[in-house]
């Protein structure tokens, strides 16, 4: 089963906006490999006749009607924000680009 490389861990950290130094990469990369290997052991018991499962419940088509329900006030919405300004969530300078 795939061993996760140090470069891949660095890339994942970049995507998650987590800064890791060399020592942390050395420390984490082998740990992630072990986790992946553990999970890969499931492949050993998944026979060809067992389809991959994405949902625990055997349901489809669960919908709601297009009806407005009361929402939070701006004060409530912002109450958990570390910082706000102009009734908006204040977030650190965005380095990258919009998605």
């Amino acid at each position: 089963m795939p061993e996760i490389s140090r470069d891949e861990v660095r890339h994942l950290a970049d995507l998650a906006r987590i800064e890791l130094d060399d020592a942390e990469l050395d420390h984490l990369a082998p740990q992630l490999s072990v986790i992946l290997e553990s999970i890969a052991s499931i492949a050993g018991v998944a026979a060809a006749d067992i389809p991959p499962t994405s949902h625990a419940l055997p349901l489809t088509n669960v919908y709601r009607d297009d009806v407005v329900v009361p929402c939070l006030t701006a004060e409530q919405a912002l109450s958990g924000a570390p910082a706000s300004e102009q009734q908006r969530f204040s977030v650190p300078r965005i380095l990258g680009d919009e998605q």
């Binding site: 949902h55 669960v62 919908y63 009806v67 407005v68 969530f89």
Partner: protein, 498 residues
């Protein structure tokens, strides 16, 4: 970076463009995709949110049935297959426009796929193949504070409003369109315009590009003429008017051709369109799909639209655009060429409303396609953005029909209405534009014209009626154009009867 851009004609002579268009459409449902928050445009910041669309722990999404219905109807109208079974997926990324750190989207199981839309450019039909139409949710809006320009670059921090986060979006993706040659930018524009009209007909979206309820990304690449390979593409994001779609495509053709001709290569990247300067600039390098670590959304069960539902929706679709246009053309009595100009000017809906307001179709066409299209082009805006309504155009034509003004004066009434001077009647009064049809006043002017042009008058007395034109011109000059030319002619012929 090369400084001089190759001209569009030179670029097209050397290269063939291939284009892919991605259009995001906000549905006009009353509530968001996965929660019951309202979707009104322009509400105060963060007044339309709840734990679900804020991504708070423990909240659970539930799909809006109406949004699924709209997605299926869009798919059917685009001649797509509708998935018998499909799931939502999480598109993971860390960016504060989505508080959940992922966007709920569809990945490899779109609700609609394999369709097409025919668009016409200068009488030629291009079949644009639709790869997929999938459901997803819109993101929040960021306001960048600090720096000099309010753009992302140089901002000190950002302020986010999540009212828009979670509004249902349909993303419609074409397959690469080739074989367009020099018409590529026009095809891009025609596709977006046709798609907008189709969505308007379905009533599933406001499709207001200026409000962002319809947004277009233009993927474009060049290959050397005659080559059947696709070149490296760029994706120009959020091009938000029909005019910009055309201009951005045109600019990218020239820009890429300039680089390729200089032996440089095209970087696969996202680019930003700048409406004011008419150029695109480099954004981020495109992430691989892998980087989004898509996986099936565990909180939403799969969708399996029953065949009966899909067929019911198919049966209730409005008449196709092509059929509707053919019908309007027949009713209006336009030639193929006239209708083509109407469509190219994006005036179908405007003429329809002007006719409803009482104008003849030909008059409505004349004003919108000739007069007003020219003015919109001069101002660099869309025809529909001109500050004049179909009702006002109809009223101006009614004033012409009544004989209160003539076409020349009508143009001055257009000037006044467009300058914000009020309704047509008010402009006529305020500017003193009504034609003089008072026989006494006209009679004096005719007498003066006859006295000043005795030789012309003699010809008319001899039966050369065609010479009357010169006298009509002289009278109109005296009256500064504000005379009823028909009545002037009658008076001249009466006075100079043989």
């Amino acid at each position: 970076m090369t400084t001089t851009l190759m001209s569009y004609d030179d670029a097209i002579a050397a290269f063939d463009p291939a284009m892919g268009l991605e259009v995001h459409v906000e549905l006009n449902t009353a509530t968001k995709m996965f929660c019951g928050c309202p979707t009104e445009f322009g509400a105060e910041p963060n007044t339309q949110t709840c734990p679900t669309c804020l991504g708070l722990p423990g909240s659970l999404p539930v799909v809006n049935r109406k949004a699924v219905e709209s997605a299926i109807r869009i798919g059917l109208a685009l001649n797509c297959e509708i998935a018998a079974w499909c799931r939502f997926a999480r598109k993971n990324y860390f960016y504060p426009d989505m508080p959940k750190n992922f966007q709920t989207s569809q990945y490899d199981e779109p609700i609609a796929f394999d369709g097409f839309l025919d668009v016409e450019v200068e009488g030629e039909t291009f079949r644009v193949e639709i790869e997929r139409a999938h459901m997803e949710e819109d993101t929040g809006k960021s306001l960048h504070v600090g720096g000099s320009t309010g753009r992302i670059q140089g901002a000190d921090y950002s302020l986010v409003d999540y009212n828009r986060a979670g509004i249902p979006l349909i993303e419609i993706v074409t397959r690469p369109i080739t074989g367009m040659g020099a018409k590529a930018p026009a095809v891009a524009r025609a596709y977006v315009a046709t798609l907008r009209d189709l969505l308007l007909g379905l009533g599933v979206s406001d499709v207001r590009m200026e409000q962002g309820s319809m947004r277009c990304d233009v993927n474009l690449s060049l290959a050397p003429s005659g080559s059947d390979k696709l070149g490296t593409r760029t994706e120009t994001k959020n091009v938000n008017s029909l005019r910009s779609v055309e201009r951005a495509a045109r600019y990218e053709v020239s820009r890429q051709a300039t680089l390729l001709s200089a032996g440089e290569s095209i970087l696969q990247e996202t680019r930003h369109w700048h409406e004011d300067t008419g150029v695109t600039t480099s954004g981020r390098e495109k992430s691989d799909a892998d980087d989004y670590r898509y996986f099936p959304e565990p909180d939403l069960v799969p969708m399996a639209p029953p065949t009966e539902w899909v067929e019911e929706l198919r049966a209730a679709l409005p008449e196709p655009l092509r059929v509707q246009r053919a019908r309007l053309q027949a009713v209006w009595g336009f030639t193929d060429l006239e209708m083509r100009d109407v469509v190219a000017s994006d005036a179908v809906g405007l003429i329809e409303q002007t006719v409803t307001a009482g104008s003849s179709a030909q008059a409505a066409r004349k004003w919108w396609v000739s007069e007003l299209t020219r003015r919109a082009n001069e101002d660099g805006i869309e025809l529909a953005e001109l500050p004049i309504t179909p009702q006002q155009v109809a009223r101006i034509q009614a004033l012409v029909d009544e004989g209160s003004i003539n076409d020349k004066l009508a143009r001055q009434v257009f000037d006044g209405v467009l300058a914000g001077e009020g309704e047509p009647d008010g402009v006529v009064a305020a500017r003193g534009l009504a034609v003089v049809s008072d026989d006494a006043a006209l009679g004096e002017a005719v007498d003066r014209a006859i006295a000043a042009n005795p030789d012309v008058a003699e010809k008319i007395r001899d039966g050369k009626v065609a010479a009357a034109g010169a006298l009509i011109g002289a009278v109109m000059a005296q009256m500064r154009g504000q005379a009823d030319a028909g009545r002037v002619r009658e008076l001249i012929l009466e006075k100079l009867a043989p």
